[in-house]
Structure formats: C-alpha cells, structure tokens
Symmetry: C2
C-alpha cells in the first residue's frame, strides 16, 4: 500500500513520520509530480496535477473539516473524498464560540477597556435569556458547540439544510425556515460548509433579520460573509459587533477595514486547528476500515459539496 502526503500549509516530515508509525505496512512519501500510482493521498489544498496523475486513488483524505478548496478542482468521478470529522477540532470550536459569546454578552470587553482607563464600576447586567444563540450548521462541530453553549444556559436555535434534531436545541431546517431561525436569534454563529449554496449567505438580508443588537461569530469561511454588508449594518447600529476567524482574503490586505475596527474582533483563522496526532489516528483508522471493506464517516457527497 502506498500513501502520498501533500500540503503547503504545514511541514510534511512530521506528518509522514506519523503516518509511517500509524501504518507500518504502508509506504508513505511526499507526493511529487510524476510519482508512481498510490492507493491513498492525505492532502491540504492539492494541485490539480496530483488528481490528474493519480486516477487510481481509493480515497483522498483532507486534513481539515472544510473541503471547499477540493470541490473547486476537477475530481475524478467516483473518487472518495474524506474530510476530518472532529479529530480534536470541535472542542476548540466550542472554546472559541463560548469565549466570544460570553465576552460580548457579559460585556467583558467593555469592563476591560474601562479598567485600562482607570474606571471600575457598575453596568446593568444583561439577562442571558435575551441572547438566544443561533447556530448555522449542526454537524459534528455544530453539535459540540450547541452542547457547550447550552451548558451556560443560553437559549439555542439551530439551522441545517435537512432537519437534525438535537437535544435542547430549537431546530429549523431548509431555506423555508431560515428567516424564522434568524429572527429568533440575537447571536449568530456560522459553522456551515462553504458550497455554492452557502457562499454569501451572511448578507444584509440575513443579518438584517437578526434581533436588534445582533452579534455575528463566523468560524466557517470568509466567503460566507458579504463583508461590506457587515460594515453597513454595524454603522447603522442594527448589529452590535462581530468576532471573525475568517476573511475573504487571508491574510487580509493591511488596509482591510475589519483590522482596527472598534466593534470587530479578528483572529487569524485559528478557531480550530488540525491536530496532527488526532488526525493521523483518524485517517489511519479509516484506511484500515476501507481495507476491510467497511464504510467510514466523513465521506463527502460531491453533489451537496460537503
């Protein structure tokens, strides 16, 4: 069995070593143009050439949860694309979202700023019940975030393409229930996969339907958001602020209006990092399962795009 690794976002050596340890029976190498046929490839943002030269792959493993970059390539019909599911990412996502949510609702940003001005004093507390949280996307990550947010006793709404009942979550499904979902939420958390259906879904129309003083947390992809629409809604006062882990252009140009914006908190696409150890363990387990002819989780549906 031969496995190729390819990523320009991370150093290949530690991944290749770890794959060799996890699958001692396999020959593991970094992919290079003209390399002989392999059984599996483990990739992040691979070039089209890799796919063209390797028509015999039994599966292509993406070392991330979002496969939108892969979906833009010409994939051979029938190629099994497998994304990471969880692998230590969902708890990081839960941390990120809870931090941003609590910070905004409890106004810890304001208290911190006031202390730096030498002020220490009262503000009328907000009621948690006034901040229903709407989660867009109820897959592995969304379910874990829902669990964490519920634990702090926030009301939670969830929206997904197809109905996904989740304990303690008021669930909405499909475009038909999208507006009801939005108008029942004050804090909106985007965890959707990026597909042609969801590109630009966070626009003036949808964000404008949130309860007044709405707050956006985007931990999915920059292209979900129509960036000028967010600025306009902040200026108009309909939205109170946003915490964004992703941007249309990463890294952003130095004059990007979100940098330095007083009501936008930016992080450099680190809400949930791929953890090598957990990812390799998951991929090795799936390669073994496929070898035994068993089904594996996380196989991408090429029609829906995730």
């Amino acid at each position: 069995m031969r496995i190729y690794f390819h990523s320009q976002a991370t150093k290949p050596a530690p991944w290749i070593d770890a794959l060799r340890s996890a699958l001692p029976e396999a020959e593991v190498a970094e992919w290079s143009p003209g390399a002989p046929p392999a059984d599996y490839a483990v990739v992040w943002h691979p070039p089209q050439q890799l796919l063209d030269e390797q028509p015999g792959l039994k599966a292509l493993f993406n070392i991330g949860a979002g496969v939108d970059a892969l979906m833009k390539l010409n994939l051979p019909a029938g190629l099994r694309v497998v994304r990471l599911d969880d692998a230590g990412m969902s708890v990081q996502m839960a941390e990120y979202v809870c931090h941003a949510l609590i910070r905004h609702v409890r106004e810890f940003d304001i208290f911190e700023h006031e202390a730096k001005q030498g002020r220490w004093g009262y503000r009328r507390p907000r009621a948690r019940g006034d901040y229903p949280v709407g989660l867009m996307g109820l897959g592995v990550l969304g379910a874990r975030v829902a669990q964490a947010v519920r634990q702090f006793e926030f009301p939670v709404n969830g929206w997904s393409r197809t109905p996904r009942p989740l304990e303690g979550v008021r669930c909405f499904a499909g475009r038909g229930q999208f507006d009801d979902f939005l108008s029942a939420s004050r804090v909106l958390v985007c965890l959707l996969p990026l597909t042609p259906d969801t590109e630009g879904i966070l626009d003036r129309r949808s964000l404008g339907r949130l309860m007044p003083g709405g707050y956006l947390i985007n931990v999915a992809r920059g292209a979900h958001l129509v960036e000028p629409d967010l600025l306009a809604l902040l200026d108009e006062g309909h939205l109170a602020g946003a915490t964004l882990d992703v941007l249309r252009e990463e890294p952003p140009p130095p004059d990007h209006p979100f940098l330095r914006h007083p009501r936008i908190t930016l992080t450099p696409h680190n809400s949930a990092r791929t953890l090598r150890e957990e990812s390799i363990a998951q991929i090795a387990g799936k390669i073994r399962a496929l070898g035994r002819g068993e089904p594996v989780a996380g196989v991408v549906d090429p029609v829906r795009g995730y």
Copy 2:
C-alpha cells in the same frame, strides 16, 4: 410571620414586593431601628444594631454566597445564618472563569491586540494539557465551575478544606496537600469563602508554587490576595497574568497599580450577581421548610465561618 429586609447595596422596594408575592402570609417590611420583633431577616451587610435589636430571629438570610461581612459582627449564639446556594450564581461564575481561562490559554487577548495593530498571523498553538486548572473551593460554585472547565477538556485539580470527591477532578484536601495541589496547577481559580484561615492565602509562597507561567483568576474576595505579592511575581515573570473580579478596596483608589496593568484584567465585582427572582424563590422555600421543621441547605457553621 414578620420578615425584615435590609440592604444598602440594592433598592429595597423590588425585594420587599417580591418577598410579599412569594410569601403572601408574611408581613414584610424594610427594617428600621426600633422596629418590633420579627421572625426572619433578609440582609446584605446589616448593621450590628439590627442583630442587637432582633434577638428572636429564627434565621438570618444573606443575599449572597459569601457571609464574611456577617461573620465580623457579634452574632447571637444559636442564630441560624443562611447563605444563598447557587440561585443562578454558579452559571455566571462558570461563564466568568471559562472566559478568562480560554482567553488566556488561547491567547485571544494577544490576537485581538495584534489585529488592532493591523497584524493577522500565526502563533504556535498551546496544548490544553499543559494548562491544568486548579480550583480552590469545591462547594456549589466550585463544583459547577469544575463541570464547565472539564467540558472544555482541561485537566482539573480541586482543593478543599475537607475531601470532596468530584467526578473527573483530581482532588486534594487540607493544608497537608496544598503544596501538591499548587505545583500540579498552572491556572489557579480562587472560589474560597473568606475566613481567618483563608485571608491572604494567595501570597508569594502559594502563588510561587504554581507551574511557571501561572495564571490567577480570583472570583472570591479581595482579601484572599496579598496584592503586592502578585505584582512582584508578575514582574519576576513567574506568573503570566491575572484576572481579578475582587480587590482589597472596592472601588479601588484611582492610582491602584492593578488598574491599567498590562497583564491584569479587572472586572468590578460582577463575576456572579445575586439574581433577585432566584434568590427570593430560594429564601421563600427555605422559610417554608423551616416552618415545617425541616433542615435547609446553606446554614453557616459559625466555627468554620461559612
């Protein structure tokens, strides 16, 4: 049945109205000097005179979890002092602690600062396992905080006066195990009651035993901390920072060195506010239970002081 209310920290009218609604059979009034004898008093920081004039009280209800201010008064022998247990406070405490913990460990403070300087980029992620959280105090609040912190998969140590087994928490008890508890923790969360035994417990000696790069979160009382010792350990680099909800002097004098300190985050004693509705429901329930001769939770042991 007559009940008095007394607090200078909150407007009495809404509390008195709510007590009347919850206990329609009772005569509820604000206490004033010379008032006739009552059965119960609901108080926050009462004057000694109230206690002296009301020797027949069946119970004194404190509208907060910490009774340290009451313990400084001359209490009639045998007076039952009852503190609030939870009443909506523990979830607020869990929010506060998780926000401060995640913010520090994930370095969201640094990313936020960098974005305001126009920078957006990589920092080597930290491993959650390197940040064991030590909780001092494992009562109602401590147990709830432990549950929330565990949910984010941090290792959790707990320390209490007497052994208190808690699921998923490595428990230490008594002064004999205090040093072992400290040296196994990098983030220290103080949730202790303030008593002569715990006053000044956060000093150079104890904070100096934390793992290097330690972080302090104090949500208990300002007098738990020896403030100059914290400054010294921050200057020396043994501690990385602190988030403090309480100070020795509240509000702090305008030149207090913690205000504006780059590695100290201050909030104005609002980690867990007393919620009127929940508190009244709890107190009314306890008054009814006492009337039926049943035991109630939260009765203060005058010897241990909480």
